[in-house]
């Protein structure tokens, strides 16, 4: 007899257990079943996320090996060199300006990318959500088309568009609007453009998801109650689709902060972002502890940013109520 068929038998005998206890037993059986269902995913998450993270944590406190890898002796040099650098001649410590500027560029470009994606993605999501139901899927399908092509190839395509002898510059020179090509490739602008292009769907989809649930009759109610277009947007639409905006912003900000391919191809060698700096330490830099420490620092930045964001959003929400 299975556990499930015993429960009705219990309830048929009122002299037995109290109904509360019986419900409790049923609830526990439910929890047990759900844990079983999630176990495969939990195992993958544990080994694929926690495992490597743990290794990173250990490596960050070791000494770098001569040809990459690590020596198993405890050291804090990896963490120290995240923000500090040792002078190779007199061993004095000073602030690592190069690292700081890379940190700053990463954060700055990620914020700019998130903002640009929001400004471009919000109207797009609004457009799709206001189409007739039958044609919405087509528009969503179009949004996903860029995902069909390899990221590297798409990034090279952007390069082809913005380089000095590329599409934009050739057209502008051909029209006689400019004499010298505008330097766009290998600038922060190029990185931001590339990242916005790559991550834009990640902004559009969550905003669309919350806009789809939005009752557009509320917009008419707003107009009816003397709210102009801008006020309807600010007072009615934005507060109600905020979960989508928050999710989209997080989904764009996090990968931007750790982006590797886009800054590598479009930023050239000198405009590095955190992802490139980390990769450098595991490659030519042969400083795995520093690379591990940088990775964990990136993780901390993301966590702090997320906590701050989530808390400020929560506060704004309770303020409204």
């Amino acid at each position: 007899m299975s556990a499930g068929s015993q429960i009705p038998a219990d309830s048929a005998a009122p002299a037995g257990k109290a109904p509360g206890m019986q419900a409790e037993a049923a609830r526990r059986a439910d929890v047990r079943r759900n844990i079983l269902l999630t176990t495969p995913a939990l195992i993958v998450l544990f080994f694929a996320a926690s495992g490597p993270l743990l290794i990173m944590l250990v490596y960050s406190f070791l000494r770098p090996g001569d040809y990459g890898g690590v020596q198993w002796t405890f050291a804090t040099d990896g963490w120290a060199s995240v923000f500090l650098q040792r002078d190779i001649f007199d061993d004095t410590l000073s602030v690592a300006d190069a690292h700081l500027s890379i940190f700053w560029r990463s954060v700055k470009l990620s914020i700019l990318t998130t903002f640009t994606a929001l400004v471009l993605g919000f109207p797009t999501a609004y457009f799709i959500a206001t189409r007739p139901v039958e044609s919405r899927n087509l528009w969503l399908f179009l949004i996903t088309i860029p995902f069909w092509t390899n990221l590297l190839i798409r990034t090279f395509a952007i390069m082809e568009v913005i380089r000095n002898q590329g599409l934009i510059n050739n057209i502008l020179t051909g029209l006689g609007l400019i004499d010298e090509p505008i330097q766009m490739l290998f600038t922060d602008f190029a990185i931001m453009l590339g990242m916005t292009y790559v991550y834009l769907p990640l902004m559009v989809l969550p905003i669309y998801a919350s806009m789809e649930k939005f009752d557009f009759r509320l917009v008419e109610a707003g107009y009816d109650l003397y709210a102009t277009r801008l006020r309807v947007l600010r007072r009615i639409i934005l507060p109600l689709v905020k979960p989508g905006v928050v999710a989209g912003s997080i989904l764009v900000f996090i990968p931007s902060l750790g982006a590797y391919v886009t800054p590598r191809v479009l930023g050239g060698g000198k405009n590095m972002m955190l992802g490139n700096l980390i990769s450098l330490q595991f490659g030519q830099g042969r400083n795995w502890p520093l690379g591990a420490a940088l990775s964990l620092t990136l993780l901390l930045i993301v966590m702090v940013a997320l906590l701050y964001y989530v808390r400020s959003v929560g506060k704004a929400e309770s303020h409204h109520g």
Partner: protein
């Protein structure tokens, strides 16, 4: 904001609140185009409870949306107290709407919803608070003012929607089937409540419904609509007792339609001959009538059954008896094959005892015959 100031001047001179002149609204283009409103002219008086009544798709909601400003007319003009508002955006019209779905803002409290329109008009904070309090009292919702709109019942949401639309004190309040989502009892209560609110505020109400009973009980005047046209405008009594067209008679209340022969026509009354040969006096609607065959309507409750066939207006065979609580409906077949329904109130003292198959006489009350235009 100038929205209010400019209206005050016009108020005194004009007795009408809304004037629609030859208003048309066509959706789509070319072969797919549909005329939701077809050259409609209507005049709604100040402080009246005016109902647009008709089946779904008759254009009543379209007319309401044109007055609210959510759509613009394809042709014609709409005047609000003498000022052309046809092309004004909804936020520049001193007109508010109670939506069928209520459309309350879910991220605001009850009080927040009511205050919204006043805030958008830029009213000072003390005045807003004051008005919100008054509105909450008016709809008896003071105790729930800081609740979220998702935390209150449908009937309460309905009240909030009303208070929200009344708070800016619009010149005209538009109500788009606001009671259709409520259950029967609550709907009855709200009908009385709406009538009370209209009296207390003195605001012109334009009410859209497909429920004839609702229209009859609440309205000062009713406009019956079909296929984008207004067929008849009049008080509930005029509409019910003197329908001008077959559709109006059919849509409101139960009707017996017969073909009669007009023998003489004078002013608003006519002499006619029923199919049974009996001569009767009937009322005529506006329009030109000449002698000859015409469609007439007789309400089932204006007819009476009798055992004495001689002297009765008509006679028929009883085919079915339907008991409906307060009344009983007797379905008869006239000699020429037409169906005829007689309704009589159920009384405890005088029990009528007819059985199916009986040959019965039908007596018709004086002034109960109405000639239809068609």
């Amino acid at each position: 904001m100038g929205v209010e100031g400019c209206w005050i001047m016009a108020v005194r001179e004009e007795a009408t609140a809304i004037d629609g002149h030859n208003v048309s609204k066509i959706f789509g283009t070319g072969a797919n185009s549909v005329a939701a409103l077809d050259d409609v002219s209507v005049s709604i008086r100040q402080n009246e409870f005016f109902t647009l009544l008709g089946p779904s798709g008759c254009g009543k909601t379209t007319l309401l949306r044109l007055i609210a400003g959510f759509d613009t007319p394809t042709a014609g003009t709409i005047l609000l107290e003498g000022n052309d508002i046809s092309l004004l955006p909804p936020y520049s019209r001193p007109v508010n709407t109670v939506f069928q779905s209520y459309a309350l803002f879910p991220h605001m409290t009850v009080a927040g919803n009511i205050a919204f329109g006043l805030e958008m008009l830029g009213k000072p904070k003390p005045e807003i608070d004051d008005t919100v309090e008054r509105m909450l009292q008016l709809v008896q919702m003071e105790h729930l003012k800081s609740r979220r709109t998702s935390e209150i019942s449908g009937g309460q949401q309905q009240r909030v929607a009303l208070a929200r639309a009344l708070a800016p004190h619009p010149r005209v309040l538009l109500l788009d089937e606001p009671l259709s989502a409520l259950d029967y009892k609550l709907r009855k209560e709200m009908q009385i409540e709406l009538k009370r609110l209209q009296n207390e505020t003195g605001i012109t109400f334009v009410f859209v419904t497909h429920d004839q009973e609702e229209a009859l009980t609440m309205s000062d005047r009713i406009a019956v609509m079909e296929h984008g046209k207004i067929l008849q405008v009049g008080s509930p009594r005029e509409i019910y007792d003197h329908p001008a067209e077959r559709f109006v008679a059919d849509f409101i209340g139960d009707s017996n339609f017969l073909t009669a022969d007009l023998t003489s026509v004078s002013g608003s009354s006519a002499q006619l001959k029923l199919p049974s040969g009996k001569a009767m006096t009937a009322s005529l609607p506006d329009g030109a009538f000449s002698k000859g065959p015409a469609t007439i309507v007789i309400r089932p409750e204006h007819a009476r059954l009798t055992r004495k066939k001689s002297g009765a207006a008509m006679s028929g065979t009883l085919e079915n008896i339907v008991y409906i609580g307060t009344d009983t409906q007797y379905h008869l077949k006239l000699p020429e094959g037409t169906a005829f329904v007689v309704r009589s109130q159920n009384r405890r003292d005088a029990q009528e005892d007819y059985t199916i198959g009986d040959e019965l006489g039908i007596e018709i009350s004086a002034n109960a015959v109405q000639v239809l235009r068609d």
